[in-house]
């Protein structure tokens, strides 16, 4: 049997279109140099938050008064603060706190907001009115003010900051998801699955949600930037992480008193915040362009 080159049992698999689709998005993302820079920065930050603390030799919280208020040097790369702690070490240790706040609070807001938005957009009518009016009330507050109010009610701590930032992210997600769900539910394939006997729950989570993932992913990425900024802001005001936690906002706040004589104390934590926020914003923007099917 010379013809049995390919065994008949072996199916010829066509390329999985889902992976093909991701490849297209990846290709477009790769062309966007600025977004890629943002993406690599994010990767670098994540890696640094894991590995960094293992590599630094100094203690981030132990005061070392003799070496206080030193400028950047070979020993103290970013200088030392008013208690003589190495700012570089503190920034590296603070990295995981910042990312943790960013990811967890956005995850909280995203899950709640997406759920509310889906219900609102899919059912419409009175449900929609009630949910969206509550969201409008939340949106009416400037973000930081709302977070500030929530934290002052709950008390200042890292976890409360996460909850506060999560809550103020809810209306943003709810709004975007509601709009998309509203558009998708009118499409014929939703009528078709309804005619197939699918329940509302099945339609919402199995058919509507996967079709509106792109705006959710983009929004989540951009939202992390805002969350990091807000959390730092709260800590700066003394409502978030408490000393001696090496949280960047708190470090900024501590450095404020020495702004004129020793600007490096506030400068480096500030730059770190800017770098993280910028990285997520750039990457989010690039992701939006890459995921937008109209730009194919």
């Amino acid at each position: 049997m010379a013809e049995t080159v390919t065994s008949p049992n072996k199916e010829v698999k066509p390329p999985n279109p889902q992976i093909e689709n991701l490849k297209i998005v990846w290709k477009k993302l790769k062309k966007n140099k600025i977004a890629m820079a943002g993406g690599f920065l994010i990767l670098f930050f994540i890696l640094a938050s894991w590995i960094g603390p293992l590599l630094t030799t100094m203690d981030p919280s132990q005061p070392n008064i003799p070496d206080r208020l030193q400028g950047p040097s070979a020993e103290y790369w970013f200088g030392t603060d008013h208690q003589g702690r190495d700012i570089f070490t503190r920034i590296v240790h603070g990295m995981s706190i910042t990312l943790y706040i960013g990811f967890v609070s956005v995850a909280l807001g995203c899950v709640a907001g997406v759920f509310l938005g889906l219900i609102s957009g899919y059912y419409g009518g009175r449900t929609d009115t009630v949910i969206m009016r509550i969201m409008d009330v939340l949106l009416a507050f400037p973000g930081i003010l709302l977070a500030l109010a929530i934290v002052s009610v709950l008390g200042g701590s890292l976890n409360n900051v996460i909850i506060a930032v999560g809550i103020f992210s809810i209306p943003v997600f709810a709004r975007i998801v509601r709009g998309s769900a509203l558009a998708v539910r009118k499409l014929e394939y939703i009528d078709a699955v309804r005619a197939l006997g699918a329940s509302d729950t099945r339609i919402i989570f199995k058919h509507v949600l996967p079709n509106i993932m792109s705006p959710i992913i983009v929004q989540a990425t951009l939202r992390i930037a805002t969350a990091v900024l807000t959390a730092s802001g709260l800590s700066f005001l003394g409502l978030g992480a408490q000393p001696p936690t090496p949280e960047w906002g708190a470090m900024l706040s501590a450095g404020r008193n020495y702004m004129w004589e020793h600007p490096h104390i506030a400068l480096f934590p500030g730059l770190a915040i800017v770098a993280v926020v910028l990285a997520f914003n750039l990457f989010g923007d690039g992701l939006r362009d890459a995921l937008d099917p109209k730009m194919k």
Binding site: E11, D191, V193, R194, R202, N211
Partner: protein
């Protein structure tokens, strides 16, 4: 039109939409029945209420629409008395539906196989693997070449005709007793239309189901249907078996529709005839016969009172004053058509 078993009997169905302008009667007292294994064509222009009729049968009318009255007897049970959960078990299982636009009726993010398999997962509680195996059988049944590969493809990789076949596969997956096809071929090329209609007809015979075919294309009706209901502005104006309808159309509207078709078997000179005017919008219906403003035969009574759907000697039903004793227009009016037949009533 008696038959041993009637699958579905719709009696005086009324569906209205409640808008800011007030109640809009989209379907106003529609009645018909489909015997087991037969095909009913529902014909009408856009806005005549034919799609709303089909959605009402599925109980898929959404706000601000509401089924106001009537009965939908499916195997003797009134669907309007069923709970939403009971309806879900019927939809896609005993009554299935295929839609007009195959390009948008499939979810773009799932494979064709997943979407056919969903029917089995919802109604028969099958595992994904088992459901996919049955989905493959369905793809073979609807005549899709190389079904193993198609199963794993996404809707955008298929042509319109292929997608409509997939839609049919989904609809027929659970072996329904009634298939509602809402303009299944309107969006397709003419050559593909014929294929899809033939496929539906063949499967109907093979599986022994009844079909309710919504269309505006009388050519499609002639080829596929056993009975025809002609709808105009929310009401059935003529109801007959397909031979009777084409041989001796009664209602001036039906005649007008037939006259406006191009014909190949007789010499036609000049332009095709048209029915002048527009379908009245449901929120602004004429007082009397709804076709009266466009009807070439209309007389005083037509503008004044709405006629009933009356049964004639040849078992067809028509909603027109010409065929009643109260007709006050010209005596001996003939609703003549170019088919060489006359539908007339001496009075």
């Amino acid at each position: 039109m008696e038959s041993p078993k009637t699958i579905i009997k719709v009696d005086n169905l009324q569906t209205s939409f409640y808008t800011d302008k007030g109640e809009v009667k989209a379907v106003d007292g529609v009645s018909f029945e489909i015997p087991s294994g037969k095909t009913l064509g529902i014909v009408g222009e856009s806005g005549s209420g034919k799609s709303i009729t089909s959605l009402s049968v599925m109980r898929l009318i959404q706000d601000p629409g509401k089924i106001k009255g009537g009965q939908i007897l499916f195997n003797g049970e009134n669907l309007l008395d069923k709970s939403e959960a009971q309806m879900r078990r019927i939809r896609g299982n005993q009554i299935s539906m295929i839609f007009q636009e195959p390009m948008t009726s499939l979810n773009p993010v799932f494979t064709v196989g997943d979407q056919i398999a969903e029917a089995y997962m919802i109604h028969e509680g099958k595992s994904k693997k088992e459901a996919l195996r049955k989905a493959l059988d369905m793809l073979k049944l609807v005549g899709i070449p190389s079904p193993e590969q198609r199963l794993k493809q996404y809707p955008h990789e298929l042509s319109g005709g292929m997608r409509q076949r997939v839609m049919i596969a989904i609809a027929l997956a659970c072996n329904p007793e009634l298939l509602i096809a809402d303009e299944p071929t309107t969006a397709l090329d003419v050559t593909i239309q014929a294929q899809i209609l033939r496929l539906i007809n063949n499967l109907q015979e093979e599986l022994g189901m009844s079909v309710m075919l919504i269309t505006h294309d009388l050519g499609v009706v002639a080829e596929t249907c056993d009975y025809v209901a002609v709808m105009y502005a929310g009401k059935v104006v003529e109801y007959a078996d397909v031979e009777t309808l084409f041989e001796s159309p009664k209602h001036p509207y039906t005649v007008g529709l037939l006259k406006s078709l191009p014909r190949h078997d007789i010499d036609q000179e000049g332009e095709l005839e048209v029915i002048k005017g527009m379908v009245p919008t449901p929120d602004n219906l004429p007082k009397g016969c709804r076709f009266a403003p466009r009807c070439p035969f209309a007389s005083d009574i037509c503008a004044d009172r709405l006629p009933e759907l009356d049964e004639l000697e040849d078992n067809s039903q028509v909603r027109c004053w010409i065929y009643t004793d109260e007709w006050d227009g010209k005596s001996g009016v003939s609703v003549k058509d170019d088919y060489g037949t006359f539908a007339s009533k001496e009075s």
